[in-house]
């Protein structure tokens, strides 16, 4: 019993901490994204609430929460309300195995990578449910697109991750990080540059981010799967999107950029992890405000014609080199 408690309490702490971390990140990144967008378009972004508008996301959150929750007529109410929860709750789990430091890891398990990949697919399910249960044709269209997109982009993502675990022989994220210890030359980006590029592209597809945000193409689908959601129903989807972004960028920096290892020996720590993750997040925002949304057939073509063969090739090459 005691041993059980010993495991449970840190896990609970980690869960609460990741919840806080998720909320904090979402707040900060909503703000940063708007500021980034503003500066790219040479305008100030949010400016009125608080110095340089720093309180804007908080106030927006308050406003969102104070709105009425509506269920559309003839919607499948249980599924309709399950969807935002299903999109949000798995994100909390995703934060647990991410190693922010040798000690600062919520749950050091051997299948950490698998857990992240498995639970990140829940987002697709949540989107389908949301679109289907809304009793709205745009919602259904958005959901249909989201399925084909997530399913498609999952495969190259898995293949690149597989290439990494072939090399390391483990699915434990802490182990993968420690293997990249020492200096910058040990980071897997040098050994797996193609995998890094594929992961980067698939990351945009997986998180429904522009230029691959076709599930919620607001111009064609009037916001797609979450057209009908008001108040925190929408808020949860919104939070989850930012949550997934942070998770994906964290995983990317663990797999390819050495996680909490610094570029030179002796200065590793959680701040490196944060720095790399935030650099990747900034890159995602940068890309979003640079490229126009692709067409749907283009989206699938990029995946099936390019990412998938390249990822397979990369995997086979990795296997071959390891065998030799």
């Amino acid at each position: 019993m005691n041993a059980f408690l010993q495991h449970l309490i840190p896990l609970l702490i980690a869960a609460v901490a990741s919840m806080v971390w998720l909320g904090l990140n979402a707040l900060v990144w909503v703000y940063c994204e708007r500021k980034f967008a503003g500066h790219i378009q040479r305008r100030p972004g949010p400016f009125e609430v608080g110095p340089h508008g720093v309180l804007q996301p908080l106030i927006d959150g308050l406003k969102l929460m104070s709105k009425q929750l509506l269920t559309p007529d003839n919607a499948d109410a249980p599924l309709y309300w399950l969807a935002p929860i299903l999109s949000m709750v798995p994100v909390l789990l995703l934060y647990l195995p991410i190693p922010y430091g040798p000690v600062l890891t919520g749950m050091n398990i051997n299948l950490g990578l698998l857990l992240i990949l498995a639970f990140s697919s829940f987002n697709g399910l949540a989107v389908i449910l949301a679109g289907w249960a809304s009793n709205n044709k745009w919602g259904v269209l958005g959901a249909a697109r989201a399925v084909s997109q997530t399913v498609a982009y999952e495969i190259p993502l898995l293949l690149t991750v597989l290439a990494i675990s072939f090399m390391t022989g483990t699915l434990n994220l802490v182990d993968i990080t420690t293997m990249q210890g020492g200096h910058i030359g040990n980071w897997f980006i040098w050994k797996q540059p193609l995998a890094f590029l594929i992961f980067l592209v698939a990351m945009f597809g997986e998180t429904n981010r522009a230029p691959f945000d076709l599930a919620e193409a607001e111009s064609e689908l009037t916001a797609g799967f979450h057209t009908e959601y008001s108040s925190m129903g929408f808020g949860l989807f919104f939070l989850a999107e930012y949550g997934y972004m942070v998770v994906m960028c964290s995983v990317c920096s663990v797999l390819f950029l050495g996680g909490f290892n610094g570029p030179i020996p002796g200065i590793e720590g959680w701040w490196w992890m944060l720095l790399k993750t935030y650099a990747l997040l900034s890159f995602m925002v940068w890309v979003r405000w640079t490229f126009p949304r692709v067409r749907f057939d283009q989206l699938l073509n990029i995946n099936w014609k390019w990412l998938l063969p390249l990822a397979t090739f990369n995997l086979l090459a990795t296997a071959l080199i390891i065998k030799l």
Partner: protein, 195 residues
């Protein structure tokens, strides 16, 4: 070979354009802002010169309170949105002396010259809510009596306030020259009183 080039080499080369795009937005990210924080900052008049706001009258060079307008109705006829209204001035009632003179002329069999109506309009109203800012009225005015204003600060809470008396506005501009731009709110009120 041609197919291979088209389907494989070209897309890879095209990826370069993505980097070019990122470079451009990256450059803009570092450039200074071009917008102003409106209520606290306004842009200077130099930058407003090219702004085409609502239509307004141009005064005579010597008498800025009266427009150059000759009430020819060209602008009213040509406006596709029907937002201009011009009322011509009536001929003034002859004064007793003039009447006497006219009578004398009639009796003497001479040509009677009734006093002519002044050419400048009695009323010139303009409904900004209808105007499409097409500039047709400006192009068609034979005496160049119309122009786009540089006023970007005009707000109103009702449609009625957007229906302005251009003569009153011109008079105001002439008296308070150079008119401060946000002052225009006073004009509709004056227009209403007259109406």
């Amino acid at each position: 070979m041609g197919k291979f080039k088209e389907n494989v080499i070209q897309p890879i080369l095209d990826c370069w354009s993505l980097i070019v795009g990122l470079k451009i937005t990256g450059k803009y990210f570092c450039k200074p802002l071009v917008t102003v924080h409106y209520p606290r900052e306004v842009i200077d008049d130099e930058n407003l010169r090219t702004y085409g706001g609502h239509v307004e009258l141009i005064g005579k060079p010597k008498d800025p309170a009266t427009p150059k307008c000759i009430s020819c109705m060209m602008c009213v006829t040509n406006c596709p949105s029907n937002c201009l209204k011009v009322v011509k001035q009536k001929a003034p009632k002859p004064t007793p002396e003039q009447e006497a003179a006219m009578k004398a002329a009639e009796e003497a069999g001479e040509k009677v010259t009734a006093p002519k109506a002044p050419k400048n309009p009695a009323k010139f109203t303009y409904d900004y809510t209808l105007c499409s800012l097409c500039g047709t009225c400006i192009d068609n005015c034979p005496v160049k009596s119309l122009k786009f204003s540089n006023n970007i600060y005009w707000v109103a809470t009702s449609r009625k306030e957007m229906n302005i008396d251009l003569l009153a506005r011109l008079k105001e501009q002439a008296t308070e020259f150079p008119a401060p731009a946000p002052k225009t709110e006073a004009v509709p009120a004056a227009a209403e009183k007259e109406a």
